[in-house]
């Protein structure tokens, strides 16, 4: 469904993304790991249309979206979450999700009836929150949430847009270590229920290995290795450069 072809993005002398080729199949959960500065976020930014590449192509269901606006990509089904959470801080958790749904259904021009009157949308929003174990917090504003819940809400918003491909940039960064797996469990179980293709960015291999069909290792803007999680764990080059283990 997603085909990345020779994608390149340099910032001055920094080769953030340097001729990347990568395919993602439908329903696949792929993790990209790599040290800080490897170019992971830049890759997500390129796929989501946040920034434009120097060269190369991005195909989504065989449609060239290399230079499409973020807006167009969202309509096509490319959704993302953010490493630094991007939420609507002044409205409730429910409204964070509900507004995304209204937007998805082209209903945000409806300006006279209270949002509560659209009960099917409200129910759907609650169902999504429930998938992420957050339904009971729907009347809080993001200010009252833990870091882990904020991360989950960020993803629930992307989820509400019915993305066919979800790009999750460090979904557990900032979350207390003891909660990281709990957060990953909620996210991955919700994703699997819908069979959404997902690209998870993470610098810590341990967190993603249990959840990924495939792991891609990035280093200095290039793909160093890819394969099943256990293959990657055993890869000597990866061990040395990414995990810092010399055997």
């Amino acid at each position: 469904m997603l085909a990345i072809d020779n994608l390149k993005k340099h910032f001055g002398f920094v080769k953030a993304v340097d001729n990347i080729n990568l395919d993602i199949e439908e329903g696949e959960i792929v993790s990209i790991i790599g040290t800080n500065g490897a170019g992971k976020t830049t890759l997500v930014n390129l796929i989501s249309g946040y920034i434009k590449p120097d060269s190369g192509r991005i195909l989504f269901f065989n449609k060239d979206i290399t230079y499409a606006s973020p807006y167009v990509r969202i309509k096509l089904g490319v959704g993302r979450s953010f490493q630094l959470i991007q939420l609507f801080g002044g409205i409730t958790v429910l409204d964070n999700v509900r507004t995304a749904l209204f937007s998805k259904y082209g209903m945000i021009r409806r300006g006279l009836l209270s949002a509560d009157r659209y009960s099917s949308v409200t129910e759907e929003a609650i169902k999504i929150l429930d998938n992420f174990n957050m339904a009971d917090k729907r009347n809080l504003t993001p200010k009252g949430l833990s870091e882990g819940d904020l991360k989950i809400l960020d993803i629930a918003i992307a989820f509400a847009l019915k993305s066919k491909l979800l790009l999750l940039d460090e979904p557990t960064s900032g979350v207390a270590t003891s909660d990281k797996f709990k957060v990953m469990d909620s996210i991955v179980s919700a994703i699997k229920k819908e069979g959404i293709s997902t690209l998870i960015i993470e610098h810590d291999m341990d967190i993603v290995s249990g959840y990924s069909d495939r792991v891609v290792v990035m280093h200095e803007g290039r793909i160093m290795a890819q394969g099943k999680p256990d293959e990657i764990m055993e890869n000597k080059e990866v061990k040395a450069t990414v995990f810092g283990i010399v055997s």
Partner: protein
């Protein structure tokens, strides 16, 4: 809003009680105080409109006097050039129309920017209108302004009736009716999917764009609606005041709109209404009793920012929450 929901939500009961109380206001107040109250109501409509932009969309305009002037001058110009159309049922739609046109033109320019740039642009454009109103003496009356006679309403003529009588009779109820409709419409807008989209833009425009909201376009929509409400307030105000001048589009007047909204509290739906009422009385008494009106405004603004950042309504509501917690 069905009856069931009304009875479930105490807020609507309070609204209803206040509305009923408002019906009796003309019998309770002297004509002088009633006029003051009517000034307050027109500013309350202005505040509702202004706060759609400030409180719900996150845009602080220092030029909303322009749309007030657009509504007010629509009335005054029709009185001057099209007297046969000088009846409320035509004047109100006309003022809505002209303030909408002006807010589309000015809004189109302003919404390309946010924060201080937006504020300054809005201010500059309103001063442009001020200069026009001021200079085109033969059309607008310049600094002398234009007189606003009493209008007709559905064929009812108020010839021979003095303004105070007009204001304490028919017009009060007309004003109350328009205010109530404005209140309900704005309440609907801010709680609707559209209103949620505006709040999403206010909270995080980057993410708003990424959930598929056309941020600039929706800012413009908010600007247009806001301009129409303010224009409506301006039009209704002219009948109370009897006279319009170019000052309405001056930044000082725009500043007063900002001030009353902050005074009441822009974070709460009813805040600007309360602010408009307090402001009207505050201004009159401060101006009557001291020469230091500007000083009073400045001093209260400092108090507001330091002690009551959420305005009077915000303070009352947090006090209420505290009391409720203690009694539980």
């Amino acid at each position: 809003m069905g009856l069931k929901q009304i009875s479930k939500n105490p807020r609507w009961i309070i609204y209803l009680l206040i509305f009923i109380a408002l019906l009796f206001i003309p019998r309770m107040l002297s004509i002088h105080d009633l006029m003051l109250f009517e000034y307050g109501i027109t500013f309350a409509i202005v505040g509702l409109g202004f706060n759609l932009l400030l409180g719900y969309t996150g845009l602080l305009s220092f030029g909303h006097g322009a749309y007030f002037a657009a509504g007010a001058y629509s009335v005054a110009m029709i009185a001057k050039y099209l007297p046969q159309a000088y009846s409320l049922e035509i004047l109100i739609p006309a003022s809505l129309f002209f303030s909408l046109i002006l807010s589309i033109i000015f809004g189109f320019v302003c919404v390309r920017h946010t924060k201080i740039f937006f504020s300054i642009l809005a201010l500059s454009l309103s001063m442009l209108l001020f200069a026009l109103l001021f200079k085109l003496y033969h059309i607008t009356g310049g600094s002398d302004g234009l007189r606003v006679p009493l209008p007709t309403l559905f064929g009812m003529s108020f010839k021979g009736i003095r303004r105070p009588e007009f204001l304490s009779g028919t017009y009060y109820y007309f004003l109350l009716g328009v205010f109530s409709i404005s209140f309900l419409v704005m309440r609907g807008i801010v709680s609707s999917p559209f209103g949620k989209a505006l709040q999403a833009i206010r909270d995080n425009e980057v993410r708003a764009e990424l959930i598929g909201i056309r941020v600039r376009r929706y800012r413009l929509y908010a600007f247009m609606i806001s301009g129409m409400f303010v224009g409506l307030g301006g039009a209704l105000w002219t009948f109370v005041n009897g006279h319009v001048t170019a000052d309405l589009s001056h930044w000082v007047f725009s500043g007063e709109i900002v001030y009353m909204t902050l005074l009441g509290g822009f974070g709460i739906f009813e805040g600007p209404i309360i602010g408009a009422m307090i402001f009207t009385y505050l201004k009159l008494y401060a101006m009557g009793n001291t020469q230091y009106w500007m000083f009073v405004i400045g001093a209260t603004l400092i108090v507001l920012v330091l002690i009551l950042p959420n305005g009077v309504a915000g303070a009352v509501s947090s006090l209420w929450t505290k009391v409720k917690k203690k009694t539980n």
